[in-house]
């Protein structure tokens, strides 16, 4: 083997140049929306302020608070249960409670729209008790959306809190107990305050998710900023009002993103030493066992079990009536094609950004990496609005092609991917590569035998994550899909919004089935954005 280690006098900044260009393109949609909103006619601003904005801000905030309260209750109590108590089946519930993350909000929303809707099974059961005139509150309401979003997002809080319970230094508890505090007192006065940063980080994540959700609010007809932006885009010839509402939405999302980051920083510093040993789980009394089992099964059934069974039942009858045909497999192909293309492009784009930030942490390179996170605050309809405008001005040739949709996915989901690509590269110390070179391996051999094996897992995780999110994406896909390019998510929404629940089921079930293994795979990595 004759590997000469000649180093070409490479252009030192060529990669930086690529990174700056890429980041510039990534930030363009955000800049464009801001520009459109700020240059809008003052009359449109004032009309929106007097008619729509107060209602939308109120609704959005109220929903975020309601869901935050619900997920706090479910997430923290379940995390405590599985990490501090022992009861039969605890190990199974510990991971099963993550499964609701596999159900997209629009799927859960349409299932609850059927379950709780007028003439649905719950109302029929109620009418057997209360007589034929008994009516339940409609799921198409604040309460309905809050319920659906809570059941869908509580695993965020559950996961973070559970990790905090498991990592908490048991000495604190033991000291508190030795000093005479009761178990309840220890929990509420010592442990929960210590875990506050983790809980709040989970809540911020939930709120960010709720604020940018389109699927549940559109199917349950609850007016939030995200839904209003979509309605403005599809119902008006003039995009100005849409851009104004978009800017407001971006600001709201930004507030919660910053909050989440801040609390995550806090939680990083809050405990200096690791735990000494695993916390002991106290066995439950027979009554406690019964209560714990009923509670966990109840939450699991409501958030995953019943919806999954319904989807299977509906899918079977849809298949029996011939709904799974050549067209259906076309939608599967479209979904797979678009998502894998987007994930691949995003890994390609993320590679130089993550590489530069970890190997050459200059101010410019770090700034580039931060700027690539802009997509986080661009909810689907906002990104679509900006891309529609930008593409029709700058690259009209691309208008209405799959390329625009792929760009939208990349802009929106690259941040989630970067979160696992960045640490993967950072963990590879340059010393390993230098050692490999000095021991006689060439560029390619070092890359193949040292660097790639080390970063592979992180990059695969990033790819899977972005693939899944692109596959579940709804609003941007609805707005940007090319002719004949419906995806599974689009089909679910189109059928469900006309209340053809059975026809929507096969596509929804397929999305859920594809998401489950990936969620379990990613649990050890970064599940934050799943």
């Amino acid at each position: 083997m004759n590997h000469t280690a000649t180093v070409k006098p490479a252009l030192p900044n060529s990669l930086s140049l690529v990174a700056v260009t890429v980041v510039g393109l990534l930030c363009l949609p955000l800049a464009y929306v801001t520009h459109m909103a700020l240059t809008a006619d003052a009359a449109i601003w004032s009309r929106l302020w007097t008619t729509r904005i107060p209602e939308l801000l109120f609704n959005t905030t109220a929903l975020a608070l309601g869901v935050a309260a619900g997920t706090l209750l479910l997430g923290v109590s379940l995390a405590w249960l599985v990490s501090r108590r022992e009861f039969p089946g605890r190990r199974i519930w510990e991971w099963a409670l993550v499964l609701p993350l596999a159900i997209p909000t629009y799927v859960l929303a349409y299932i609850y729209s059927h379950l709780l809707g007028a003439g649905g099974p719950v109302e029929s059961a109620w009418q057997m008790l209360a007589g034929p005139d008994g009516h339940l509150p409609s799921p198409h309401s604040y309460a309905g959306v809050t319920l659906v979003m809570t059941l869908d997002t509580f695993p965020f809080v559950y996961l973070l809190t559970r990790a905090a319970f498991l990592n908490l230094n048991v000495s604190y508890e033991e000291v508190a107990r030795a000093c005479g505090a009761s178990r309840t007192g220890t929990l509420f006065r010592i442990m929960l305050p210590l875990m506050r940063p983790a809980i709040v980080a989970g809540l911020s994540l939930v709120v960010l998710y709720v604020v940018s959700d389109f699927g549940a609010v559109s199917l349950l007809r609850y007016q939030t900023l995200t839904y209003a932006v979509y309605q403005q885009i599809t119902g008006r010839y003039d995009p100005t009002a849409a851009s104004i509402l978009s800017l407001l939405l971006v600001v709201v999302a930004l507030i919660f993103l910053v909050a989440e980051r801040w609390f995550r920083q806090q939680s990083r510093f809050f405990q200096t030493t690791g735990r000494y040993r695993a916390p002991a789980r106290r066995p439950c009394s027979p009554l406690g066992t019964a209560l714990a089992t009923i509670y966990t099964i109840g939450v699991f059934a409501a958030s995953f079990g019943i919806p999954a069974l319904l989807l299977i039942q509906w899918s079977l009858s849809a298949i029996a009536s011939g709904a799974v045909d050549v067209r259906f497999f076309g939608f599967v192909w479209n979904s797979a094609f678009l998502s894998s293309l987007a994930a691949t492009v995003a890994v390609l784009i993320g590679l130089p950004l993550a590489y530069l930030a970890s190997r050459r942490p200059s101010r410019l390179n770090l700034l580039c990496l931060q700027a690539a996170y802009a997509g986080y605050v661009l909810p689907g309809p906002v990104g679509a609005l900006a891309l529609l405008a930008i593409v029709s001005h700058l690259a009209p040739f691309w208008y209405g092609t799959a390329a625009v949709l792929v760009i939208a996915y990349v802009v929106h989901f690259l941040p989630a991917g970067l979160q696992s690509m960045e640490p993967a590269l950072q963990q590879v110390t340059p010393n390993l590569e230098e050692a490999s070179r000095s021991l006689g391996f060439g560029t390619a051999a070092t890359l193949r035998h040292v660097t790639l094996p080390l970063v592979r897992d992180g990059f695969i995780a990033a790819w899977v994550l972005m693939f899944l999110q692109s596959m579940k994406e709804l609003p941007a896909t609805l707005l940007l899909r090319p002719v004949g390019f419906d995806t599974l998510a689009v089909r679910v929404w189109l059928e469900a919004s006309e209340e053809y629940y059975q026809l929507a089921a096969p596509s929804a079930l397929l999305i859920v089935i594809m998401t489950i293994p990936a969620i379990l795979l990613l649990l050890s990595k970064d599940w934050r954005a799943a």
Binding site: Q231, L341, Y355, Y399, T446, L447, G484
Partner: protein, 349 residues
């Protein structure tokens, strides 16, 4: 220091190989649409299930493949405009003459000289230069729950703004073209102040019962969530066809002596200015206005066929004896912007 350069090189290698993969993947699914003459792309603002059966039977009959993009009416017009000369669309179908008229004003549709089409569709249902052709008629009606109210309770659409209907009505959202067309007509007949009053009352009475789809309004009325709703008539008859016992019925509003008359609109089709398949596109239009095509609008969709020799479903209120609001369809385009301004001022969702 060489590890940086070494990595640059390595990354470039990865990048170039991955780029090749992407290039191959992108090359795969691009349909060679321009090369095949017998393939049409239709942008449609109608719900897919209301138009796809007709396009499928055209495809079966002629062998011309029809690709459909089904989305919101305003959205597809916006899209057509943004795509300009590069649009893949050969035809535009919408639910609303106002949107077709707007597409015509924007130069998106091409005029048609076709005597057989002119013979099939009466002049009041076509653009002056035939750049769009009406395919089927619909009335904007009140659907009511027969167990909750009696038809005598309501005479005019404008009565819906009265406080007695508080929390009892369901309405379409502000983006709905039916609502926009309806308000255009009411505004022309009654003037701005009266219309604004009507919209404010409507908003207050509907509360959160604001829907994105007419089928949902019919469903809400049938289930008794609300007593009344405003929809296009055929959604009611389509619902009754699948659920014959549902407690709903249609009330044709404003039929009283001196009343405004019912608000009519059409679904229509136009051939795009930039189509490269004008002949096939024209065959599709001819098929849809033919007696065979029109019969499908009547039988499948419960719409009013516009061809004089094709009869509507006998369950529908007879077209001939219905009093119709005196606003020509071709005016709906220019009336749209001022009507939308009123809707927005009233703050409808």
């Amino acid at each position: 220091m060489n590890q940086y350069h070494f990595h640059c090189q390595a990354i470039r290698r990865i990048l170039s190989s991955l780029l090749t993969v992407v290039a191959c993947m992108t090359a795969l699914p691009v349909p060679p649409a321009q090369a095949e003459p017998d393939r049409l792309v239709v942008y449609s603002g109608r719900a897919e299930r209301l138009i796809k059966p007709l396009l499928d039977s055209f495809q079966a009959k002629t062998g011309v493949q029809v690709d459909l993009l089904s989305s919101g009416t305003t959205e597809v017009v916006n899209r057509l405009q943004a795509e300009g000369a590069r649009t893949p669309a050969d035809l535009l179908i919408t639910n609303d003459a106002g949107s077709l008229e707007r597409a015509r004003e924007l130069g998106l549709l091409r005029p048609l000289t076709a005597p057989d089409i002119a013979a099939a569709i009466p002049a009041q249902f076509r653009a002056a230069d035939n750049s769009w052709i009406g395919l089927s008629g619909r009335f904007w009606v009140v659907v009511y729950n027969t167990t909750m109210i009696k038809p005598a309770d309501l005479r005019s659409l404008l009565d819906l703004a009265e406080p007695r209907w508080k929390n009892k009505i369901a309405i379409p959202n502000a983006g709905s073209e039916y609502l926009q067309a309806g308000i255009s007509v009411i505004k022309t007949v009654y003037g701005d102040d009266r219309t604004k009053q009507f919209l404010e009352g409507l908003k207050a009475n509907a509360g959160t019962q604001v829907y994105g789809k007419s089928s949902q309004i019919v469903e809400a009325v049938a289930k008794g969530q609300v007593a009344l709703g405003v929809v296009n008539h055929y959604y009611v008859y389509r619902y009754l066809a699948t659920q014959p016992g549902a407690p709903i019925a249609v009330l044709m509003p404003d039929q009283h002596e001196g009343g405004m008359g019912a608000i009519i609109n059409v679904a229509g089709i136009g051939i795009t200015t930039h189509t490269k398949h004008a002949d096939s596109a024209r065959r599709l239009v001819e098929y849809l206005v033919s007696e065979e095509g029109q019969k499908q609008f009547a039988d499948l969709n419960k719409e009013y066929p516009l061809h004089p020799r094709v009869a509507a479903d006998p369950a529908l209120p007879p077209y001939k004896t219905t009093r119709i609001a005196p606003v020509p369809l071709t005016k709906l385009g220019e009336l749209r912007e001022p009507a939308m301004a009123l809707i927005e001022q009233a703050g409808l969702r």
